[in-house]
């Protein structure tokens, strides 16, 4: 599903990621851990092609970063469900509209959109916030909206950047469970986390990054 081939990306000299190579298959569940500022979000941005490698190439769902036309990038992103570290919720739309957006983008019928969004909000226990604007939600609730938006489009792969940072331990545990269910139905999951206690002993692959370099896989 995702493959890094000797990928380097530099924001400036010394800062960025170096010679990263790894692969995540289409039904895998993998964690990415590492200290603050080590390059985890940078890896994620390389996957959804917000950044393009300076060296090497990234392949997502068979599409390679060194061959893709700019026009085609949206197509790659539609395959990916993304939970951003900083949420990226649209502040002038309510929760329902935020979660519905990826479905409108691919032209799904209004009634089907309604059904799928409400199911998703239910699943994440935020259905009563449907009509609220993001700023009316607590930090953890916003994070769950972001997760709902990533899952609702039934993507081929889910990228989650620190999706439990604002969740209490119970909610965090529930989220992992949910992602495991989704993974069982055949979706790849790649998740960044600091919370080693939460992810250890679950039998999933753990990638570690330090100073922009992958340490062990």
């Amino acid at each position: 599903m995702i493959a890094f081939n000797d990928v380097s990306y530099f924001f400036s000299k010394e800062i960025g990621v170096k010679d990263v190579s790894f692969e995540i298959s289409h039904d895998e569940f993998a964690f990415l851990i590492g200290p603050t500022g080590s390059g985890k979000t940078t890896i994620m941005r390389l996957i959804y092609m917000d950044l393009m490698p300076d060296e090497g190439f990234v392949t997502v769902g068979g599409i390679s970063s060194n061959k893709i036309k700019k026009r085609k990038i949206p197509m790659v992103r539609r395959k990916i469900g993304m939970v951003f570290q900083d949420y990226h919720l649209l502040s002038d739309r309510n929760i329902f509209e935020n979660v519905a957006l990826p479905l409108h983008m691919v032209g799904i019928r209004r009634d089907e959109v309604r059904e799928r969004v409400m199911n998703m909000l239910n699943e994440l226990d935020i259905e009563e916030k449907e009509k609220k604007k993001p700023f009316e939600l607590s930090g953890g609730e916003q994070q769950r909206v972001c997760i709902a938006r990533a899952l609702v489009k039934e993507p081929e792969v889910i990228l989650a950047d620190e999706p439990t940072g604002n969740l209490d331990p119970v909610a965090a545990h529930d989220l992992i469970k949910l992602l495991e269910n989704v993974n069982n139905e055949g979706t790849a999951v790649f998740m960044v986390s600091h919370n080693y206690n939460l992810i250890k002993n679950r039998g999933h692959r753990i990638l570690e990054i330090q100073m922009g370099e992958i340490q062990n896989q």
């Binding site: 959804y48 790659v76 992103r77 951003f84 990226h88 002038d92």
Partner: protein, 288 residues
């Protein structure tokens, strides 16, 4: 596809509301520029009234040689009448001249002298309904060259001044209209740029979620067009109202009547849609 189009259309509308502040600013700008353009158009449409009035006062006096007979004078007058610039010719025969002399000086010149010393003449009025500058020189020369014409008198300097002045006004009008149109496109495009700038987070997010360029652009462009149309309608109705008031009071002041018709409205509408489209397209393309 239809679902997507309807979604984008609705988004365009809702953007108007979401961006109340920017929207009202650009609606206001459109209103202002179209109001100005509208006024200029109306002034332009009516600019012939005053000049026509003045032109109807242009008087070319043609004096015939003293020895031309009334019959000859008639022939010359016919010739003058057929010149393209001439609207009408009023003949003043020798007899009329005697009467005029009597009116002016209170004496009957024929009685005094026993014969009529006054030459026949004619007053030439010119065509007045031209937007072009009228240059009388060639006409005067032509009349002068006719057989039997003695002298031609007219208020040459005054007329040419008036005509130059009028021409300057017309040119100023045209230039102003062009400039205002340009300015309004720039203003709209700037305001939409602002709107988009305000929404750069949103655009970034949409891009990250996999929106195509079109999906992001269309609502903004529609928004710009809607704004323009609203501004144009406001301008139309304001001008319409002003005209109503103006037509009510103006006739007592000067003889200009103001025309405002459907075409004018449709014209403003088309201009506004074009401005809105170009303006917002320019702005969107700058950022995407």
């Amino acid at each position: 596809m239809i679902d997507k189009i309807s979604f984008l259309l609705i988004e365009g509308f809702r953007n108007l509301w979401r961006h109340k502040l920017t929207a009202s600013t650009s609606i206001f700008s459109v209103f202002l520029t179209l109001f100005l353009i509208g006024i200029l158009i109306i002034v332009g449409q009516n600019s012939h009234y005053p000049i026509e009035y003045f032109r109807s006062k242009y008087k070319i006096e043609v004096f015939f040689n003293n020895d031309t007979s009334d019959a000859q004078e008639k022939i010359i007058i016919e010739k003058i009448r057929e010149l393209p610039e001439v609207r009408s010719v009023t003949p003043i025969t020798k007899k009329d001249a005697v009467r005029i002399f009597k009116d002016q000086f209170g004496e009957d010149v024929v009685k005094m002298l026993g014969y009529n010393p006054l030459p026949g003449s004619a007053v030439v009025n010119i065509n007045k309904d031209s937007f072009e500058q009228v240059n009388l020189e060639p006409l005067i020369e032509e009349i002068q060259s006719l057989n039997g014409v003695d002298i031609v008198r007219y208020q040459g300097r005054l007329i040419s001044r008036l005509e130059r002045f009028y021409q300057m006004m017309i040119n100023l009008l045209k230039i102003s209209t062009g400039m205002i149109l340009l300015v309004s496109i720039v203003v709209i495009s700037n305001t939409i740029k602002l709107t988009i700038y305000t929404c750069r987070e949103l655009i970034k997010t949409l891009q990250l979620l996999g929106a195509t360029k079109m999906f992001i652009k269309v609502p903004f462009i529609l928004e710009g067009i809607f704004q323009s149309i609203i501004g144009a309608s406001l301008a139309f109705f304001t001008i319409f109202g002003l005209m109503k008031v103006g037509n009510h009071y103006l006739p007592q002041l000067v003889t200009l009547r103001i025309q405002l018709d459907l075409y004018f409205g449709i014209g403003l509408l088309i201009i506004s849609v074009v401005i809105g489209f170009i303006g917002s397209y320019r702005a969107v393309s700058k950022f995407l």
